[in-house]
């Protein structure tokens, strides 16, 4: 399983640079907002957390379709699916985790830079980073289900995003509300953050199982 993480990370960093593309997309999406909204710094500071969250959500959906597609194209997927149930679920968990390391974690690390650009306060940026740190793995885990469902389809890429977006909405809601709660005074930070963590844990458990079911069923 360590070998699987190592392999997937090596592929992500060595060629194509999936990690870098995700961060670039994140940068570009967030940088476009001020052009559309106008460069009002107060306004940007107010909507900053939401923009960062939406940008991170879109950026992490971007690479999801490759999660199993690449393995299917070269035939590796057969070897993964061949395993018994428990090993397959574990394999998919590890693959989702590796995917998060390659695409989700860089987004979390890029968040403070974008926080500066959006004129966000240090607290606000910190809160966004913390919620992203918990929320992006949830997106990767639930995204694995969509990627597994779409793996046999041509042009699955767009479909994955459409399938996963509704499921990712709770993550977005609680992530953003926790990030806002950290800066707006009366709202408590912890309740939405705990719900977000719970969602992340739930998806970490559910995602690999559901993805395994989809892959077992989808093999043709």
């Amino acid at each position: 399983m360590i070998a699987l993480i190592k392999r997937d990370l090596a592929i992500a960093t060595r060629s194509g640079g999936a990690a870098m593309l995700g961060v670039l997309f994140f940068l570009a999406v967030v940088a476009v907002i001020p052009f559309g909204m106008g460069p009002d710094l107060n306004l940007l500071a107010r909507i900053g957390p939401a923009i960062l969250w939406i940008g991170a959500l879109l950026a992490s959906l971007l690479g999801l379709d490759r999660l199993f597609q690449a393995d299917r194209e070269d035939g590796s997927l057969d070897m993964l699916v061949m395993q018994d149930w428990l090993s397959l679920v574990l394999t998919l968990f590890v693959k989702s985790l590796a995917h998060w390391f390659a695409t989700g974690l860089p987004l979390v690390l890029a968040a403070p830079l974008l926080g500066l650009l959006m004129n966000m306060s240090a607290t606000s940026t910190g809160a966004v980073m913390l919620t992203l740190l918990v929320g992006t793995p949830a997106i990767s885990f639930i995204g694995a289900v969509g990627a597994a469902v779409a793996v046999v389809l041509p042009r699955g890429g767009l479909l994955v995003s459409i399938l996963i977006l509704p499921l990712a909405i709770p993550i977005l809601i609680f992530g953003v509300s926790a990030a806002y709660a950290a800066v707006t005074d009366p709202d408590p930070f912890w309740p939405p953050f705990m719900i977000l963590s719970a969602i992340a844990l739930f998806f970490a458990a559910l995602g690999p199982v559901a993805a395994a079911a989809a892959l077992k069923g989808a093999s043709d």
Binding site: S15, G16, G17, M20, L21, L24, L27, A28, A31, P34, F35, P39, L41, L44, L116, L117, N119
Partner: protein
Amino acid sequence: MSDTTISQGWFTSLANPTRFLALSGRVLPYLATAAVLSLLVGLYMSFAAPEDYQQGITVRIMFIHVPAAWLAMMCYSVMAIASIGTLVWRHPLADVAAKTALPIGAAFTFLSLLTGSLWGRPMWGTWWVWDARLTSVFVLFLMYLGLMALHKAMDDPARAARPAAVLTLVGFINIPIIKFSVEWWNTLHQPASVIRLDGPTIHPTMLYPLLVMALAYTLIFFTLHLMAMRNEILRRRVQTMRRQAAQAIGGGR
């Protein structure tokens, strides 16, 4: 090539990567020494310069901010020229030059953004504003990163060369936008004070350290660029040799 004017003979001899390696190997030590020397002199001069009556000590950030911004643009110009070389003359080294300038240019752009931000915080009271100059430099930074991603996405450098060259040239329109943004739009960023038609407007005690630092930055750029180009040539050589090795193994014997 059949017609051999002197310049073209020189040009083609440089086109030979092996010759380039030998030549650049001889030039590099001098270049590196000059870069280090000018950097030391520049650093001394920028700390010896008097403090600005308006900006106080933060004016010293200018000595590393302004050259970084110049270099960010110059590096892109170098890439644009190299791209013309790729597209028009198909010069084998042009693509190498364009590709290896990317990370260096990105680093200088990043530095100009960063030092600008560190200057803006005490002077303007904010890390970042979306004004024309800053935004256009930020766009330049994104373009550097995008081009790097394009090169990384292709495992065969020969196939990435032409699309990257086209994209580089299209992106070149951003350079005049950066240069004139402070004049075309009324922005927070101060207008040019060194490169002007009517001569520089800043005081010589400020101007000279700035110019020396700019020279140092330029020399640093060329040193790093030459080194990176040599690496890239070796990288491609390794690649070809590996492909040849793959062909040879298990086939002929």
